[in-house]
Symmetry: C2
Subunit: 237 residues, 2 copies
């Protein structure tokens, strides 16, 4: 068994796969990389882990710098350690995926990074293994959102059921019956109906709802099965 002192040391980075939803499409936030190698190319938001912080703290720091926002949904995706994944020096990257309310974010635009939202269906080529990270994140988003009430995180505090349905339809690239969707969502008792309506989407108007935070926290980890067979749908098989 080898000693600590004889072991190699590695650069440790974090990269963030940041999803947003503009009411029409699922989007991904990317930047033009500001330093060599690959300066100017499209890249996920990332940064190096410092001595005094965990990888998670580093990811939060990076996100905070970018968006000015603290609260958001974030979870670890995967650690990537391919030998040549970074062309400059061997670097291990822990990828995190985050869901943010695109509206809230808009006012807090960071001047340092010049981030851009791309439609998930028309992404530019990204540096290193970032394409692979995004693919894995998309898969995980579909997987988890089929089982847990995750996608609320992408919407503003007030939203309508048809808006939520449209979001689910974007994520799974399919359509749902509105009647059944309605009942399924409301049967979770995770939403509280508000008094006012959104009149932009239709003449009749659709009632706003907000997340019932207590029920949401209590029930997040129970399986909800929003979507019949997300993998089949996602893979088109």
């Amino acid at each position: 068994m080898r000693h600590y002192s004889k072991q190699p040391r590695f650069l440790l980075a974090v990269d963030c796969i940041i999803f947003g939803y503009d009411g029409q499409e699922l989007k991904l936030l990317v930047i033009q990389r500001g330093f060599e190698p690959c300066k100017g190319e499209w890249s996920l938001i990332g940064g190096f882990v410092q001595l005094h912080e965990t990888a998670e703290a580093a990811a939060k720091r990076v996100l905070k710098n970018l968006t000015g926002l603290d609260v958001m949904y974030m979870e670890q995706l995967h650690a990537f350690s391919d030998i040549d994944r970074d062309t400059e020096e061997r670097t291990i990257s822990v990828a995190y995926f985050a869901l943010i309310d695109i509206q809230k974010y808009k006012q807090q635009l960071s001047e340092d990074y010049h981030p851009v939202w791309f439609s998930i269906n028309h992404l530019p080529d990204l540096i290193f293994d970032h394409n692979q990270m995004v693919e894995l994140a998309k898969e995980k988003l579909r997987y988890k959102a089929a089982l847990h009430p995750l996608l609320f995180e992408l919407l503003p505090a007030k939203f309508t059921i048809p808006q939520l349905q449209n979001l689910y339809e974007c994520v799974y690239n399919t359509t749902f019956d509105k009647g059944n969707f309605n009942r399924k969502i409301l049967s979770t008792h995770l939403l509280t109906k508000l008094a006012d309506k959104d009149k932009l989407g239709s003449k009749k108007g659709a009632f706003y709802y907000k997340v019932n935070t207590k029920a949401y926290n209590d029930n997040f980890h129970s399986f909800l099965n929003f979507v019949a067979n997300p993998h089949k749908i996602a893979n088109g098989s």
Copy 2:
């Protein structure tokens, strides 16, 4: 934006959460640590990542050294990066969880490590954050096995449905109706019935089955929903 050269470097380790099943109980493989710090204390199998290998390759190398086996189910669990998780020096650990056929393994015992199988319900205290890793791995095992035909990996090549049921009952700490369990498993068409019976478990004897490898590989990623509500069962809530 900081330069590569000014970034800190970290030790990178892997740790393996190895599950087995002896026909009675779910088990975890641990060793007595062979070097300082915490020499002699109970620990997961682990090792340092080398310059020429990915984290996954390091985990496979460690498992191969220990068990002599190549083929087994392994997947990345989580990267652990708490600042004080290793008492000697800051170390990031990528944890992997593995499922192995305890029978196959028995013949290949490594002399170097003196590994011991502990019942998952009577684990000793482990070093560092290894207890936390095991908890997360148990959670993930329950989560995945509820949706994917994962637990076959813990059984020998030939097994009976009642044996499989007992394994599921161990993992979820509950009981299932044998009739319904039978139908549910067979409805997946993932198993091929063999001609011979196991007569040890009962007088009548139960037919052996083997995994239909093609169907297994084709269907692993489709959702199967073996267990009604695994989280509720697992949490007892």
